[in-house]
Symmetry: C2
């Protein structure tokens, strides 16, 4: 029996959170993966989260929180809102996209925090990265800092105990950097799923697929998952 320190990992099953699992593992944490069903069209990502949890031998403690009905107002959740496709990166960065989910990461962090506090975890990992998703306010470094302050003053662990730290190892990495990091650490990227439409093979044209593909291309590594459109993995 180990007495390793514990970390809750917010695990969507995508490229970023799968890489976070690998980082937390390497940093010596016992992994407590936490996933969310919130009515997302890409609920297939939860299958990826299960496979990733199983890969790390922690499938038995993988918790999927059911938030269905509590989150709406996004193209990722609402049937009457379309997921944009074939957008160039400059356009993606100009505005908050239709795929923004109101307060999603705030809810995820809150539930992860409650879970972390109740099991005595000292850290929680979230795979936000500001460079690629500059359109999402809840991925920015200043948002993470603000939430850390909420933990420090608003929880028993923060106000009177050893505290709980938010870990964002991908915060300042490009998507290519994340691919490289995940590959180096042996993260099971072949099980990860990023497509907003939740199709298998992945669509290859939504913002999430486009950024992922570009990341693998720039890293010079072919993406192990299949796409519905042909991709040239030799382009840098």
């Amino acid at each position: 029996m180990t007495t390793a320190k514990k970390a809750v990992i917010i695990l969507s099953g995508g490229l970023d959170s799968t890489t976070c699992m690998a980082v937390a593992k390497q940093e010596g944490y016992d992994l407590y993966p936490l996933s969310f069903f919130y009515g997302q069209k890409a609920a297939i990502e939860l299958d990826s989260a299960k496979k990733v949890s199983d890969f790390y031998g922690v499938a038995d403690r993988h918790f999927i929180a059911d938030l269905n009905g509590m989150i709406r107002g996004s193209a990722l959740t609402d049937a009457d809102k379309a997921i944009p496709t074939n957008r160039d990166e400059a356009t993606m960065e100009q505005e908050i996209p239709a795929t923004y989910v109101p307060a999603r990461n705030i809810i995820f962090l809150s539930i992860a925090l409650s879970y972390a506090e109740s099991i005595g975890a000292e850290a929680m990992y979230i795979g936000v990265n500001a460079l690629d998703y500059s359109g999402y306010p809840d991925c920015r470094h200043e948002f993470i800092e603000a939430f850390q302050q909420v933990i420090n003053v608003g929880t028993a662990a923060g106000a009177h105990g050893a505290g709980i730290q938010i870990k964002t190892p991908l915060q300042f990495l490009s998507k290519a950097g994340i691919v490289q990091l995940g590959s180096e650490l042996g993260a099971p990227l072949q099980f990860s799923h990023s497509c907003y439409f939740g199709t298998d093979p992945s669509c290859g044209v939504c913002d999430s697929c486009l950024l992922r593909i570009k990341g693998f291309q720039e890293a010079g590594v072919p993406d192990p998952i299949p796409y519905a459109v042909p991709i040239d993995w030799n382009v840098k």
Copy 2:
């Protein structure tokens, strides 16, 4: 049809949140009450929340979010943790009580925030008050300020829109002050329920009952709800 401004009210069905409903109504908001089932032993409070919503004519838009299984580690939720009774106020204030629920208000505010953002509400009310519950870190003014900063930097409404304000009209009121305010505004305190055990009549000996009783006594108003123990309403 009105075009009034909207507010989400975090409504447990207790004395404080019922008074918040009255304050928000008086401040001209269309009320969107939001309650939570989180495995609390006092789930009976949700019946109170329904009655209070009905009193204000908004039962049809009263949303009860089901968080069961996502929150644990508190005497209010866990069968193997006892709710303390007959404690004096000095003891209550000395330490974080067993009835502290890990990150509860952070989760409540997060889900209220997502709801507020998706319906275009400009405010959300929470009935925290620091004076009586100094043992709860997530009721303090500095916690609310930290969470407001999360909203300001971490949401589309905060970072790019008109913002969403957390309203805490009870923050600096004593329990007697809350009773007076609620009474003046015609809040249906007879429907509210505060007992941690969730019994009807209320136990009269848990921290929540003790503080409520003292508040009514100091305000010189008899509490309209029944208790399992005799109470002298003429003591100030």
